[in-house]
């Protein structure tokens, strides 16, 4: 989230799309309701009428996988009716930037496309630069090749008729929603978006969100209170685990994992440190080497020296251009590439797309380590449906771990608040905390290398690793400390002193910091995440800002890009709900995005989007794999023969897997119905931490599939009957819920039925509770992130 949960109350219009917040993030509705009580309008767009829809002022149905068409229509509406926030768009976004002559778009393809590699040469999308190397701008937004004009041209194709024909959303609903959402383009109004996996789990997932970012920038809704782009994260610490980068492509703090071609630390730093010749651009990533060196110092402590490149070559490197993402991982495992596997606090046999493929893949391992609180479908995969244990060689180690309240440490919520948890009780006899397990295991491995030697032992033996697990020791390391006495910016720091903020991190080895984004979270003042002080200034109280409660990255800034919430004199666009204000000497309110004075101070100031190379919000996004503007493509499996917007039916940059487990069918009469997956309030993710709780299981005991009355009639299915749901990849037995919550769509003149089912069940428990919906979903992903398309695929339904 660019903003945070409480801030939702400051919105004038709340759009919930790709999310069922009322059921999956129930407490978020406390703040949605507060906004509504003050007169805000709530809009819900979803294939299914849910409890979120029931609370909405306007509900509109949409066929799964057509969000870009819907949002493209909104962009078109805003532009055609000139409802954008002109000053914000011209000054704070790249709408005024001139794009080079090679850029073009024709029949679903942007220029630079190579059909053989199914990828783009992004140099075709570059900006035209002036003699200083700075993009040329036309702030009147009239130049035919400026981003604004290209945007207008691109989305002029997204007419109400076309959008309605593709999405199945009635035209009058589209118009009503477009009009109300566009009203937040008034400078003292704000609109927010609450989205979740309903937007990310698509082959166009990133571009779904990009489309909304464009809308938010056009309406001046980024950086302001009641605005932003807000991902509702589904796991208690998925924000923190992402910040600390348990992901192949990034190191903690979103630093890049080095590629093989980057032989030295200097080459690595050079590659990822952007240079901006524009003196008005803060270009924050210019500090990259300070963060990467401080990270390596945290990894290897005193063993990381300038002479050995701070241990750069002890870190594993990826091949250039290769992905090691989840779907690739399970594809390689299915092909027998891996010997060992850790499934730690995760249940991929239910959570991963094409779950049958993952289950088969585990049978090809030599050994598997599964750490969890409860038994689950992954640890016990060898006795699952269709498995013959006598033929499965995989050795499995199951390690029982503690519940959150049995250990001490912090987690980071969706609003980036790092909050400390205390140990309420010791784990039961025989159970250890995750931290304890990993520290003990690594110490055993280190002992073996110390005693026996082994291949390339340096990174293992030189790792800065504790004897025993202590969350405070790690939290202090993540924040970072000075490794020697040093004077920085006129301030003297002693060796061992905690670094007060990332502004003091250095690239010479004098500081360590496990994650620069969390620098400031555990300082000489103490553990900031543990703070429980609700004091606030009058200005902060107006927008529900609690700067002394817990801690928020970066530098306790609660609303990101807040320099965009004020005009060039530092006056809030919305004085009734100000985020920051320049008082003539300094900023007051939230922690600003840098202390520079407002833009009226000229060269002393900086543009508001400080993390971007050119300091501008990116309406044009030349870094994405599938194009600088979002374009509608159908899901890999879809019910229509052709894409109404172009002759490219699916995202032209999607990469497919080719094992016998990767079967896909579009417009196949055997799989005629669109299907989507979701969760229920009472279960969490695969259900591994909820299915074992009698209170929750009693409320939601078994797998169901929801379908419209029309479809049920067509198939002769009655409410409560058991039915088979099948896709090319697997089948499930579920209880039919025949409901008015789903209605057939009219798509390109044809009737299209959509069904849906939750993915929170598994064969292991409860007995006869059903299995995971991911048995049905396809293993295909977004070309940028490789997040799988589990929200739009095709199935059949029949009576058992």
């Amino acid at each position: 989230m660019t903003n945070h949960w409480i801030d939702i109350k400051n919105s004038d219009v709340i759009l919930i799309m790709g999310s069922n917040a009322a059921e999956n993030h129930p407490i978020s509705f406390k703040w949605v309701t507060r906004a509504k009580e003050k007169g805000a309008t709530l809009i819900h767009v979803d294939p299914r009428f849910t409890r979120t829809s029931a609370k909405a002022d306007i509900y509109a149905p949409i066929r799964s996988g057509t969000d870009i068409a819907f949002l493209g229509g909104l962009i078109n509406y805003i532009l055609q009716n000139r409802l954008y926030f002109k000053e914000y768009v011209a000054e704070y976004t790249n709408a005024s930037f001139i794009v080079n002559k090679k850029f073009g778009f024709k029949d679903g393809l942007f220029s630079g496309y190579d059909p053989e590699t199914r990828s783009y040469d992004k140099s075709y999308w570059a900006f035209e630069l002036d003699r200083h190397g700075v993009p040329k701008r036309d702030k009147s937004l009239k130049h035919p090749r400026c981003v604004f004009q290209l945007l207008k041209k691109h989305y002029s194709r997204y007419t109400l008729d076309k959008v309605s024909a593709v999405t199945g959303t009635p035209k009058d609903k589209l118009k009503e929603i477009y009009k109300i959402y566009a009203s937040t383009g008034k400078k003292d109004h704000s609109g927010t978006i609450m989205y979740a996996m309903g937007w990310t789990q698509h082959t166009v997932g990133v571009q779904n969100i990009r489309a909304m970012c464009i809308i938010q920038l056009l309406l001046g809704n980024i950086g302001v209170s009641g605005g932003g782009v807000n991902a509702l994260r589904g796991e208690s610490n998925v924000q923190g685990s992402t910040d600390h980068c348990i992901l192949f492509h990034i190191w903690p703090g979103y630093l890049k994992t080095p590629r093989a071609s980057l032989k030295t630390l200097a080459e690595y730093n050079k590659k990822f440190t952007p240079k901006s010749p524009d003196p008005m651009s803060a270009n924050w990533w210019q500090n990259y080497p300070k963060y990467s060196v401080s990270f390596l110092k945290a990894m290897f402590g005193d063993k990381a020296t300038k002479e050995n490149d701070f241990g750069y070559n002890w870190m594993p490197k990826l091949d250039d251009g290769k992905s090691y993402a989840w779907l690739v991982l399970f594809d390689e495992m299915y092909k027998g590439k891996f010997k060992g596997f850790f499934a730690w606090g995760q249940n991929p046999c239910c959570s991963g797309a094409n779950a049958n493929k993952n289950r088969e893949a585990l049978a090809k391992l030599d050994w598997l380590v599964n750490v969890n609180i409860f038994d689950n479908e992954t640890g016990s995969f060898w006795k699952g449906p269709g498995m013959d244990p006598r033929r499965i060689k995989t050795e499995v180690f199951f390690l029982p771990c503690a519940v959150s309240a049995e250990k001490e440490g912090s987690i980071t919520n969706s609003g980036r608040w790092m909050q400390w948890r205390y140990q309420a009780a010791k784990p039961p006899c025989g159970v250890k905390g995750d931290g304890e397990i990993m520290v003990e295991l690594m110490n055993k491995i280190r002992e073996l290398y110390r005693k026996e030697g082994g291949v390339f032992p340096e990174p293992i033996l030189n790792l800065n690793w504790p004897r025993e697990y202590d969350p405070h020791w790690v939290a202090k390391l993540i924040n970072g400390y000075f490794t020697r006495d040093v004077t920085i910016k006129g301030k003297h720091f002693r060796k061992g002193e905690q670094v007060p903020s990332f502004a003091y991190l250095q690239d010479d080895g004098s500081t360590c910091s496990g994650n620069w984004l969390y620098c400031g979270s555990y300082t000489e003042q103490g553990n900031m995440a543990a703070r429980r002080d609700k004091s606030q200034t009058e200005m902060q109280a107006k927008i529900g800002l609690f700067p002394n409660w817990a801690w928020c990255w970066p530098v306790n800034r609660r609303i990101l890009y807040n320099r965009a919430s004020v005009d060039k004199y530092g006056r809030p666009w919305a004085p009734q709900k100000p985020v920051i204000r320049w008082n003539g000497k300094k900023w007051v309110g939230d922690v600003p995005d840098g202390g520079w004075p407002p833009l009226s101070y000229g060269k002393k100031s900086r543009y508001p989007f400080i993390m971007r190379k050119w300091g501008a919000g990116q309406i044009f996004g030349p870094g994405r794999a599938d194009g600088p503007f979002p374009e509608h493509y159908e899901p890999l499996e879809c019910p229509v023969e052709r894409n109404l917007f172009s002759s490219q039916r699916i995202n032209p940059t999607v990469k497919l897997f080719h094992t016998d487990a990767d079967k896909f069918r579009s417009c196949d009469p055997r799989y005629p119905f669109v299907c989507s997956t979701y969760r229920v309030t009472e279960h969490w993710q695969t259900g591994v931490l909820t299915r074992w709780l009698p209170w929750l299981l009693e409320a939601q005991p078994q797998l169901f599939v929801e379908m419209s009355e029309e479809l049920a009639r067509l198939k002769g299915i009655k409410n409560g009957e058991r039915v088979v749901v099948e896709s090319p990849r697997g089948k499930l037995i579920a209880v039919a819920i025949v409901t008015k919550r789903l209605k057939p769509f009219k798509i390109l003149g044809k009737t299209v039925h959509e069904v849906g089912l939750p993915w929170c069940y598994g064969w292991r428990w409860p007995k006869d509770g059903g299995d995971s919906a991911n048995v049905l979903t396809p293993s295909v992903g977004d070309p940028n992130t490789l997040i799988p398309e589990t929200k739009a695929f095709m199935v059949n339904i029949r009576k058992l």
């Binding site: 409480i6 050795e395 709780l693």
Partner: protein, 190 residues
């Protein structure tokens, strides 16, 4: 009398209804409320954050000073996000902690076996450490096909976890990267 909070709500609900009907003549409500307060009066209070979704609701845990067990969990009224409220999942934290179905011993499944065997932590961790070392040493890749230094292991993969604390997340990535793993993923990718 052992009284859970659920029982308390149920019984007081009945008692209130009875009073409304005038059958009982007096209310049990204060007595049960007193019993409930007694139960947590001597308990240690700690704050935690809900382990389910990422709204980050505050929860108070009450721990019995004698048994060391968590005897009650409830929404933290001081927490600015949830102001004491919890959803069905958050309100069930008590039952995740006190759950007879929890696994309490490390288990081992031999190749081609159809059952789990209970093992000690010492044995399990030693065996895993050995497997990691053997696999790593055998399959370690110093240079890729282009001859570039990569110092990595492609024969072991790791996933998880967004359910861990930040400090554990940082440590697990440090550990896996130090071992040379490149296939490191978790919930954020799916």
């Amino acid at each position: 009398m052992k009284l859970t909070r659920r029982d308390f709500i149920r019984i007081t609900g009945v008692a209130t209804a009875s009073v409304a009907l005038g059958n009982l003549g007096f209310s049990l409500k204060p007595a049960y409320a007193h019993a409930q307060v007694l139960k947590i009066r001597m308990a240690k209070e700690t704050t935690t954050i809900c382990p389910y979704c990422a709204v980050g609701c505050g929860i108070i845990c009450h721990t019995d000073l004698v048994t060391g067990k968590v005897i009650n969990t409830e929404g933290d009224p001081d927490h600015p996000i949830n102001e004491g409220a919890l959803c069905a999942k958050g309100a069930s934290l008590y039952q995740m902690i006190n759950n007879p179905k929890r696994m309490t011993k490390p288990l081992y499944r031999r190749p081609y076996s159809d059952k789990w065997e209970e093992v000690t932590w010492e044995w399990a961790l030693e065996q895993i450490a050995k497997r990691v070392k053997e696999t790593r040493d055998k399959y370690f890749i110093h240079k890729n096909s282009k001859g570039q230094i990569v110092n990595r292991v492609e024969a072991i993969a790791h996933i998880g976890s967004a359910a861990m604390d930040n400090e554990e997340c940082w440590l697990i990535q440090a550990m896996m990267r130090a071992l040379g793993l490149v296939y490191i993923e978790h919930q954020a990718r799916i």
